[in-house]
Symmetry: C2
Subunit: 346 residues, 2 copies
């Protein structure tokens, strides 16, 4: 479309700094005739402390009016663990049915990896975003006593699994290697495991040109460090996806460059794009944060909205910048943003 | 004690080969006056195919008579996923209340790691072994239909969490660095997360000399590849422990050298010691499997039974052998076992 109406949520800590650079690059890459409108929202720790609110129904109604959401990071040590995660981040993913959590991992030239021998890494994880143990099902009895019992319930539905598995097959088919790996733990979590495995195998029959395999989540962490090149597209549940995408980010250059999209493919609700990293309060305010992950999240956002050429321009600019980076003096958050904006403006 | 009555379960695939070497080293290390009795059990795929049985009540009664159990590996592609895992391995852990699943990770000199720069790695994971999503709680409705719902319930009790947390604190206190890290996901799994965190903090107050910290499981996978030296003792739940110990094994030399103990500290039932690796049917029967992980599991077994000096002799022999290994021609399973047996016999 010829206009983008974007909700911007800088959030906490370095979120403010990196989002500013993401927007700088977004403005620079868009052609003159695409109108960009942005509206900033003040979600996060300050709003929570000031009002006790994390995300109200009115907020959701306001956010719904946008084409997409760009988020920096939410979270601060002053807020008890879980409050902003469950009350904002997960609430939004569930409210807007962000069932495809897309996390590409590509080791770009010039980027350091903790792995020896600079292996080739280029895969994408399709993490389910609205089910599994993230549903908040479960509870506690006899809290605080010696007889406390706390449960967490992983909920998996045929509906929820099939739609994300189909999305992953379509993505695998569109990539040159056409390979899809299911990651689960079906030898122990046999109820959910059978559901995931059966649906995966059923849909696989419709994609004869996609090569498939299955790996237990524990073994997947081994392959991610010993043979990450074996992966092309991975589909997995919400919790396993959370765990392996942090590891994937670490081996493919670190969370400074890891982007993600919380996607509602039906576009019934706006999708949200955010760097995988958190708010990093320890370095916030010093202009030290690497905005690259946010800039790459902007590329995912543009691709989601159909601006493929602009998305590619951003990705190329990031690749070029990273390839040069070894030779550059250390730069601030805004210097990196300026450099990327200059490149995409071309 | 002056005698060891050992149950031996070679199991499937390379289990047979590696257990033979483990026993060879065990015989060689024991002083003359310690009587070693062994009884072999035929659990695994062959027994399952022949009889449909995985582990009967009579089997459990027989195993109970032993001081400890040495296991090779259980699992074969001819058996549906989950049958031997739930029907044998997990059944045994639950029946014998193996609530401390001990998995040391030490990068020994001369051992290759996929990480750049050969970092120092020396930590131990205390994985809870009888709760979490491993309990088999959960179920399926409308199986095979478009409306299937499958749940997995993670069960966490104050009793179960406190005993494993106490075990981990005691282990941390006995180590030079005296540091204990809780790994969980308490910002999302808030019911179980609060239970784990509260008990961890409560017990910490009794161990003022132990330094503590907390890391989310996803972030823990990052540290395991970027800064594994930060860990000393880790305590975590059954599923997170499963995942991070495979990664820990990978970064500290691979599953060829990763040992584990399924321990009942009260000694009410025999504890079981096993390499972290599986049955590796692809290389079984060729004398290619590395028996080191099994030999190190024998060392854990000896330490559990109070034979600390013999355990240390085995660990020293393995270190010396691995340090030399780079200079040695490739050796077979039994050649490695012979070399280790010769060293410990001293
Ligand atoms: C902050 C937390 C709720 C979140 C998650 O667990 O999904 C984060 O780890 C992520 O991966 O986006
Ligand atoms: C085989 C499987 C049941 C087992 C587990 O998940 O505990 C294995 O992965 C392990 O870590 O010992």
């Amino acid at each position: 479309s010829r206009s983008i109406n974007l909700a911007v949520i800088p959030g906490d800590g370095i979120g403010q700094e990196v989002v500013a650079e993401g927007l700088k690059v977004l403005s620079a890459v868009l052609p003159q005739d695409v109108k960009l409108e942005t509206k900033e929202y003040d979600f996060g720790a300050r709003r929570y402390h000031a009002t006790g609110e994390t995300l109200t129904d009115a907020d959701l109604d306001a956010l719904k009016q946008h084409d997409a959401i760009l988020l920096g990071a939410i979270g601060d040590p002053s807020v008890p663990s879980g409050v902003l995660e469950r009350g904002f981040l997960l609430k939004l993913r569930f409210a807007f049915d962000h069932h495809v959590n897309l996390r590409p991992s590509k080791l770009l030239p010039g980027v350091a990896t903790p792995l020896a021998g600079q292996p080739e890494i280029d895969f994408v994880v399709v993490r389910e975003g609205t089910e599994g143990p993230y549903t908040g099902n479960g509870g506690t009895i006899r809290k605080g006593t010696a007889h406390e019992v706390a449960t967490e319930v992983s909920v998996n539905t045929a509906f929820g699994v099939e739609r994300v598995v189909r999305d992953a097959f379509a993505r695998a088919q569109a990539r040159p290697r056409k390979k899809l790996t299911l990651v689960h733990k079906n030898n122990v979590l046999t109820f959910a495991g059978h559901l995931w495995t059966n649906i995966f195998n059923k849909v696989a029959a419709e994609y004869p040109d996609v090569t498939t395999d299955y790996i237990h989540v524990d073994a997947a962490t081994i392959y991610l460090v010993t043979d990450p090149g074996r992966f092309d597209v991975i589909v997995t549940d919400n919790l396993f996806g959370d765990i392996i995408t942090d590891l994937a980010a670490a081996v493919s250059g670190g969370i400074g460059v890891a982007a993600s999209g919380n996607i509602n493919p039906s576009r019934e609700f706006p999708s949200m794009f955010e760097p995988v990293h958190g708010s990093a309060p320890d370095i916030a305010g010093h202009g030290k944060a690497d905005p690259t992950a946010t800039v790459l999240s902007v590329a995912l956002l543009l691709r989601h909205l159909g601006h493929d050429a602009e998305a590619a321009r951003i990705e190329d600019a990031v690749s070029a910048d990273l390839a040069e980076r070894g030779g550059l003096p250390a730069r601030s958050t805004s210097e990196i943003g300026d450099a990327l904006a200059a490149r995409v403006a071309g």
